[in-house]
Symmetry: C2
Subunit: 192 residues, 2 copies
């Protein structure tokens, strides 16, 4: 099981960032930096939603902040990122995989898929960013392609999107200097 | 201090809903129900963001879910609600006050104000929903008015928005049957 990213980050950040500089950054870190940059230059307002935690018990110490002493990670019902870009609603999910031949659809929950479907239906910009960590390749796959593979799976088709499909249907996000993952460049090309 | 809503909800929900039916619903509950309804009838895709919890310690029991054993509520850097409506990005904050004469600006954090300002600048639909609980009145106040009072406060002006200003600059959200707080009716009037 993969625990939500908020957690991974706090345990891995320290050494991965120091030792390998940009090479070791997680996709989430890359996207957060890109969003920070886009916000700073007034290009877009896109934020990551907090990891949902079901708070069960809280302790209130005197004179200090409340402490959650029992909480559970909940499954996200929407995607991780959303906001506004060039006046349009933008909404996406980001996933990494170590798999070399395909992106397993089990990485995305049914609720998230239905959210992506709704957003696309309402005219929003909706996609998924997938990183094949072994190849250091990050792709932007439009909602329509993701939904095609998801729906095929529901009818008994394969449970993953082949790496080859990314080569032909998705767009490779080039690595730049600032921001490193300039995914909005691709959004310009694909949606405007 | 007001703790984040996620918490209030879990302690108040049980009796307030049962005993007083709709009368006792919090603004958050009302808005969540409205959003659920809007999603079900395919009118809009608007969700509440999870309450941000800084996870510090996690326990992994064998064969069961991870438990957050130490976490802290973080201040939200954006607003609570956002999504897409009629193809446009929509983003808002919702606050209740027991105050009878004014809405204290301390209820909204500087980060949230700057977020609202950015969204408005990028052409998004941005506002705040304020409920005066004593009067059972819920208002929609457009970003421009909220920012006017905020900026005036920054220059040494009053630290609240007078109730009278809501009467003249905001729009009273009528109570309906389904959804009870049909705030998108007002959005239609004010933004389209």
């Amino acid at each position: 099981m993969n625990y939500p990213n908020g957690l991974k980050k706090s345990t891995q950040k320290g050494h991965s960032q120091k030792k390998f500089s940009n090479r070791g950054m997680t996709l989430e870190e890359d996207i957060n930096l890109a969003n920070k940059y886009y916000l700073a230059i007034n290009k877009a307002v896109i934020h990551k939603k907090p990891t949902p935690v079901q708070v069960v018990r809280v302790h209130y110490p005197k004179r200090s902040a409340a402490v959650v002493t029992e909480g559970y990670f909940k499954q996200a019902s929407t995607t991780d990122y959303n906001g506004i870009y060039r006046g349009k609603y933008i909404d996406f999910e980001a996933k990494e995989t170590k798999n070399k031949t395909a992106f397993p659809l089990a990485n995305i929950h049914a609720h998230q898929i239905e959210h992506i479907r709704s957003v696309a239906k309402h005219g929003g910009i909706s996609f998924v960013i997938v990183r094949f960590t072994t190849f250091h390749e990050t792709y932007l796959l439009k909602a329509e392609h993701l939904l095609y593979y998801w729906d095929r799976q529901q009818k008994g088709g394969r449970k993953s999107i082949p790496y080859k499909a990314f080569k032909s249907h998705a767009s490779l996000i080039p690595i730049k200097f600032q921001p490193r993952i300039a995914y909005l460049d691709l959004v310009d090309e694909l949606y405007f």
